[in-house]
Symmetry: C2
Subunit: 453 residues, 2 copies
């Protein structure tokens, strides 16, 4: 929240206390809905209800749509029915559908009855699509026209429909069955002769997505073709809705957060959580990973146990356990990060996989050799023993090399299994390399010390 | 690359070999510039030059602008001057400025001379702004008009300027000094009476950014206010350019990749690297981190060394070193991930820091208690020793708790120091917690075993 908004927040609270409603309304009228949303977030329930009452239907609808769904539901259910209706009527169908999905069934039912028949039908239809598909994020507010009409007709249609800001920049051309056959941007319409037939000026190779397409795929399409909105069609090619660029930005952000959370070994469930919320949902999201990895790490403990007789004779070996395990984990995490991100953004394609993994292996060889040499010399000096130096150096070299190969290969394997490569998190790969690094380290130690002791 | 494009790629290569230029031109004319860009990426240098020669100036300009800057530079410098001019003339000023920044100075100089005086001036001006600022990503193609003109004038102006698709959706209103005073969306213009004075219909509280603003801040502004473009002003409030939503998407993606790379302990330098490119730049990007962390991990080795006499007596202690260090690292990485992402997306604000860290500490207490209990019992059964069970259980509990607190606190401290919290990577925090976990584990072991042995 910037300084200016904090000032307005303070003023709002004072005006509410002093019942200066008219002044407050004037103050709030000046604000952008996105700023109003930030303001609402900071207010207590009662203050919030009073402020929403002061806002006009369209402004309230836009501001509320910017809030978390949980907060939206709390506000709308607390409002008197007529105010709730005024807001819902102005909300775009996709925002309303998301909100209704969050409500208790009985609340949703009674609110749907307040809405016009048409809006309620739109919302019910949108609610049938899974949240993370094109159908789940599309809006049904779009302007469509027949190919036999003229540019002037299309502009009239736009003027009449007066759609909301994000949805007004393309006019879609459909046939009698509602099938998508062309598109015109508002810019093209303005530049066209008013009496030009749509058919003769429309673009016919329209980029579109299917209602069932994953939201990330939809976002990538909009990103690739620099679109402001993408039309969504069904199996019959019938135009069902559009996904606008502002929603695409939110999807890309959500997907990036999801990937970042998975990479950090946090379940995506936590993405929905409030950073200041109750701790139990967060515990449920993190505990399975942590506990699972702790048990997995016992495998490396088992390896160490097998070599305790050796460590009894050369206690200095224990000193380098964390360096060995940590170094391998870090090297693997680096490779994993680069490969998982490459797969997520589509920068790395299926046919490149072999070459990328081979490149990581070569990087591992060089990095392993350098780190092995440096750490080997360090260990030698520290322990006054060339043998410890040799063991540590050689193990670091081999471990880093293996770690780079594993870090790049594991996400690829996971993807081949049909899973999201992002589930191969840094913590997961680090726990796996704990075991291999202990095996390599102690085996080399046993070999070398067996020869010299 | 999808199946359809792969087919077109094959056709393109065949047609090139058989010199069927006219057919190829028809084939390529059907393609979207973004698909043409993908095609160009797959072609050999010579084929690529031949294909670019066949494309019209505007199409070639759009397609080339989609490529990596390195590839753009290679293509443009290899073209005959008149074709290069045709393409550069059609390129938007911001794309051209990015391209010129990539060229060798002599190439840039001779190409700039080919351009019209006006375009060259725009490009030179844009090149003065740092890459990652609003000035560096803005384009100078925008439509501006005086407040005393009418809606019809504005539409005429749009028609005359016929700007590129992304820049046509707002008309900015400026005063005699070129200062930004208002804005009108194309939609608002269409709905307005043709003879309405701009002054009376424009919105005056315009969201704008400053030329020196960081690109991430610009992107967040566009995202927050659901804009299609944001105007960029200088110190005198003079309108200097606009940043369009398609560039904002690329910025957000770039910033997400940067954060992901840092979280994985990879330098952002690697973001610029080709996944199949030479290995040396990647080695340079990763080696410092890895080697630094290896040395840092020697501190935990030093702690272990201090306790070797204890381990000599109770060798079972060594078995749990990796579990102890790994568990703490993983718990810290989880907390770190949530906090760093919260700071990056602006979801977590300065005044929340204390409450978020305190929440993480409480999560750590519960998770630590549960994991400590489970692992303690496991260790007890494994080693047939209640004392080992007690040591492992207690250490896991304390270590996970400390790790959660450290994982949430370290990025906050880094931010307070004025650095990007994303530099606190998983590998970094895991290496730090290696040391604390060894200290806790062996201290508890010494205490308990000292009492019972």
């Amino acid at each position: 929240m910037n300084q200016e908004l904090i000032g307005i927040l303070d003023q709002t609270i004072v005006m509410l206390q002093q019942h200066r409603e008219d002044e407050l309304r004037t103050l709030l009228d000046e604000l952008h809905p996105a700023d109003l949303a930030e303001l609402l977030e900071e207010l207590e329930d009662e203050q919030r209800a009073a402020v929403v009452q002061l806002m006009s239907g369209p402004t309230a609808a836009e501001a509320i749509a910017e809030l978390e769904l949980e907060e939206q539901a709390a506000i709308v259910t607390a409002l008197p029915p007529e105010k709730a209706k005024a807001i819902l009527d102005e909300m775009s169908a996709d925002d309303a559908a998301d909100l209704f999905a969050e409500l208790e069934p009985e609340d949703a039912g009674s609110l749907l009855q307040l809405m016009t028949q048409e809006d309620a039908t739109d919302v019910r239809e949108l609610m049938t699509f899974p949240e993370d598909t094109a159908g789940g994020i599309m809006t049904t507010e779009f302007v469509a026209i027949g190919a036999q009409r003229t540019a002037a007709d299309a502009i009239d249609e736009l003027r009449r429909a007066a759609p909301s800001a994000e949805t007004a920049y393309y006019v879609y051309v459909v046939d009698e069955q509602g099938r998508l056959v062309g598109v015109l941007s508002l810019r093209e319409l303005i530049v066209a002769q008013p009496d030009a037939e749509i058919r003769s000026i429309m673009r016919t190779n329209v980029v579109s997505v299917h209602v069932n397409d994953d939201q990330e795929e939809v976002a990538r399409t909009v990103q690739k073709y620099n679109l402001l909105a993408v039309p969504v069609v069904d199996d019959q090619d019938v135009l069902r809705g559009i996904v606008t660029v502002d929603d695409v930005i939110d999807v890309l952000e959500e997907e990036a957060t999801e990937d970042i959370f998975r990479a950090g070994g946090v379940s995506d469930a936590e993405q929905q959580l409030d950073l200041e919320g109750p701790i139990w949902p967060a515990i449920r999201a993190r505990l399975p990973w942590l506990l699972g990895l702790l048990f997995l790490s016992l495998v490396s403990g088992k390896v160490i146990e097998g070599f305790t007789p050796l460590m009894d004779r050369v206690t200095a070996l224990a000193i380098f356990i964390t360096t060995m395990a940590g170094g391998a984990g870090n090297a693997a995490t680096q490779a994993l990060t680069v490969v998982v991100r490459g797969l997520a953004t589509g920068e790395m394609e299926r046919d490149q996989v072999g070459r990328v993994v081979w490149r990581e292996a070569r990087i591992g060889i060089v990095i392993g050799a350098i780190c092995g040499l440096v750490l080997g010399v360090t260990a030698m000096v520290w322990n006054h023993s060339p043998w410890i130096g040799l063991i540590v150096g050689l193990s670091i070299a081999i471990n880093l090399m293996l770690a780079k190969a594993a870090g790049s290969l594991v996400p690829v394997i996971i993807q081949r299994l049909g899973l999201d490569p992002a589930v191969a998190s840094g913590p997961f790969i680090a726990t796996i390399t704990d075991t291999t690094s202990m095996l390599v380290y102690f085996s080399i130690a046993a070999l070398i010390l067996g020869a010299v002791l």
